[in-house]
């Protein structure tokens, strides 16, 4: 196995809660609380989970849009989480981002040409003005927008077209890794397909690694190589796509899969409807964070937090059930097929 392009070790980000006249810290939001994973060159890893699980915070922490509380972020062998700003800037070229909302992701007061030229200039990728112009044109071709649209303003484009501009901006820096933070979630179904196809094509053509942050499991399954499932600031399961969808090894993953509505009327599925809501990340439950909603929780889950362990080759999960004999482990065997639709 080659050296991973990105390694995240025990990443922590706690946001302080300030209150009172003097703005004293009264608590913390444990948004990300010990997350580790790695991404190989050219690989797509998906980070899935529900709102508030910390998946977007992981993305922003990697991009170093804020300083992290603990842990390490290693980009191609170099730690970037504690790098001074000056050394970090050239490293930023190697990881780019596409955000969810195509409307607020583009500066409304900049023309498309200037938006795309900004990273090219910042990172000194072009020899001269003509080279910038040529590169901007190539980028428009890559994302399948007309070249003459570079003179237009963002508001003249539809949501899908804006997302193409965002992708072009990310590509302008010639990155090794693109972080897609819910990049297709805000788009309409038909436009979503266009953007998903575009991202897949670009990844193949350019050999990009991708961190695909999403809550949409169907898109994730379509896009990704490996999947990491997050719950309340922690990764509860990581596995290659097929293994995860065929045989989830964490009760939360299983419930998530069963909860996705599928466009097949009358599909026979074993449905697991979780009770209750996600607890607050300000006071995460003791023991396993999922025990308050887990249908299989037993005493040990309330006291002891399970660690992420390998249950099969490349399949990691954080659940005490795997210490039990197989007969008492509802997650042994291939459950995925049952919670997904039958044909």
């Amino acid at each position: 196995m080659s050296k991973p392009i990105l390694e995240v070790n025990d990443l922590k980000k706690h946001f302080p809660i300030r209150a009172g006249f003097f703005g004293g810290i009264t608590g913390h939001v444990y948004a990300v609380d010990g997350v580790s994973f790695s991404i190989e060159k050219g690989e797509t890893l998906s980070l899935v989970g529900e709102s508030g699980c910390g998946k977007s915070t992981v993305g922003k922490a990697i991009l170093r849009l804020f300083d992290i509380t603990g842990g390490q972020v290693v980009l191609d062998g170099q730690r970037i989480d504690d790098m001074p700003a000056g050394t970090l800037r050239p490293m930023r070229r190697r990881m780019q981002v596409v955000f969810q909302d195509p409307y607020s992701s583009l500066n409304p007061r900049m023309r498309v040409r200037d938006i795309l030229a900004e990273p090219i200039r910042n990172f000194g990728l072009a020899k001269d003005a003509a080279d910038i112009e040529r590169r901007v044109g190539d980028l428009m071709d890559r994302v399948r927008l007309p070249r003459d649209a570079v003179n237009r303003w963002p508001h003249e484009f539809s949501g899908g077209q804006r997302q193409r501009i965002c992708i072009a901006r990310a590509l302008a820096a010639e990155p090794d890794l693109i972080i897609c933070d819910e990049a297709v979630s805000a788009l309409d179904v038909s436009v979503k397909a266009q953007i998903v196809n575009l991202l897949q094509d670009l990844q193949k053509e350019l050999g990009l690694a991708m961190l695909f942050i999403s809550h949409d499991l169907a898109i994730v399954e379509h896009m990704t190589h490996r999947v990491a499932v997050m719950y309340l600031g922690r990764i509860v399961e990581v596995a290659p796509k097929r293994q995860l969808f065929a045989a989830p090894k964490h009760p939360y993953t299983e419930a998530l899969l069963s909860a996705v509505p599928v466009p097949e009327p009358g599909a026979a599925r074993d449905r697991i409807i979780l009770k209750g809501d996600v607890p607050s990340p300000i006071r995460p439950p003791k023991g396993c964070r999922f025990h308050t909603r887990c249908p299989y929780a037993f005493d040990r889950c309330k006291q002891e937090e399970p660690v992420l362990r390998q249950t099969e080759q490349g399949h990691w999960s954080a659940c005490h059930l795997h210490d039990r004999p197989a007969a008492e482990n509802p997650l042994a065997g291939e459950r995925g097929a049952a919670v997904l639709a039958h044909h």
Partner: protein, 329 residues
């Protein structure tokens, strides 16, 4: 006679640069106790349709024409006062954003009780007892304590349950749900959909669910109306629509969705794209509204707007070339 009959509904809006024909000639009906889904992408007119039925369209800049018969009465001909007596009582609505649709300074109990006292003339104590009952019905634990709480003390899923409780409090005959689960997380969405299915059996109200999510449609609807650019392009029973979609737009929509479990069946084909953009609704369109994006479009399509035709039993589509089956006599 159907519970709700919408005929030639047109809802247009005056904008500085033209008239926006948001809904332009929509016909459909809803039978008592039936669940009908209206599905389409943003801007197709599905939400405007819902607002038009309840006459919540501000006039001006909007204007509604056609007829909306509910229980035989044309809602568009009623006075504002008569309409108020129907809203929240015989027809009620659930919105997408449970936080903004609840009043933050009133307790949950007050908000449920309000509609009951207004429409059913209940006393304060009766309304309170009924509020507790409603919260129990929508599966909120400890309803006696929760009625005294304010919306901000509840989670998103709980608030949507409260919205449903308010909507169902007066035993409406028709419930219109506009993207009721779009703002919710998957596991919470599953809870709410489960609740809606369960309530349907117990309450017996007809439901019009408006959504962009074909997965949600497949889970709850009996009949589906597909809208595009302010018009109905296809209508069929849910199994028929998903099994054999007739309209190229519906086919495109279904083809553009990745299927959960695709990695297990080895069914990992490239997603189908619908090229292009939705046409502007400010210009009057000759021909088929979908012609500019349709792979099969001919000159005929661009010239002559297709009528809605029955292509198979109970399966209507607005496409000249959609395949017809002999309709069983």
């Amino acid at each position: 006679m159907a519970l709700l009959e919408v005929e030639n509904l047109q809802t247009h809006f005056r904008a500085p640069d033209g008239v926006n024909r948001a809904v332009d000639g929509l016909n459909f009906h809803v039978n008592a106790g039936e669940t009908v889904a209206i599905v389409g992408e943003s801007g197709c007119g599905k939400s405007v349709t819902a607002m038009s039925i309840l006459r919540l369209i501000p006039e001006p800049p909007g204007k509604i024409a056609g007829s909306i018969r509910f229980n035989g009465r044309d809602l568009l001909k009623l006075s504002d006062r008569e309409m108020r007596a129907i809203r929240g009582n015989e027809i009620s609505m659930i919105f997408q954003e449970p936080m903004t649709s609840l009043n933050p300074v009133l307790t949950v109990g007050r908000q449920i009780g309000e509609t009951l006292r207004l429409h059913q003339g209940m006393s304060k104590s009766q309304a309170e007892a009924r509020a507790v009952e409603m919260l129990k019905l929508v599966g909120i634990p400890e309803p006696e304590r929760r009625v005294k709480e304010y919306p901000h003390q509840l989670s998103g899923g709980m608030r949507q349950r409260v919205m449903i409780a308010i909507a169902l409090a007066c035993n409406p005959k028709l419930l219109i749900a506009d993207e009721p689960t779009t703002a919710l997380d998957v596991t919470i969405q599953a809870q709410i959909l489960d609740l809606m299915r369960d309530l349907k059996h117990r309450v017996g109200a007809a439901i019009v669910i408006i959504t962009h999510d074909l997965g949600v449609v497949a889970e709850v609807a009996e009949r589906v109306i597909v809208m595009y650019a302010g018009r109905k392009v296809e209508e069929a029973a849910v199994e028929k629509l998903f099994r054999s979609p007739r309209h190229p737009y519906t086919q495109g929509l279904l083809g553009s969705m990745p299927k959960l479990g695709s990695s297990l069946t080895g069914d990992e084909t490239r997603l189908q794209e619908i090229p292009g953009l939705v046409p502007s609704l400010k210009r009057k369109l000759d021909g088929c509204v979908f012609a500019s994006r349709c792979a099969y479009a001919t000159d005929m399509c661009r010239k002559v707007a297709p009528a809605l035709e029955e292509k198979a039993e109970g399966h209507i589509a607005a496409c000249h070339y959609a395949i017809k089956e002999a309709v069983a006599a």
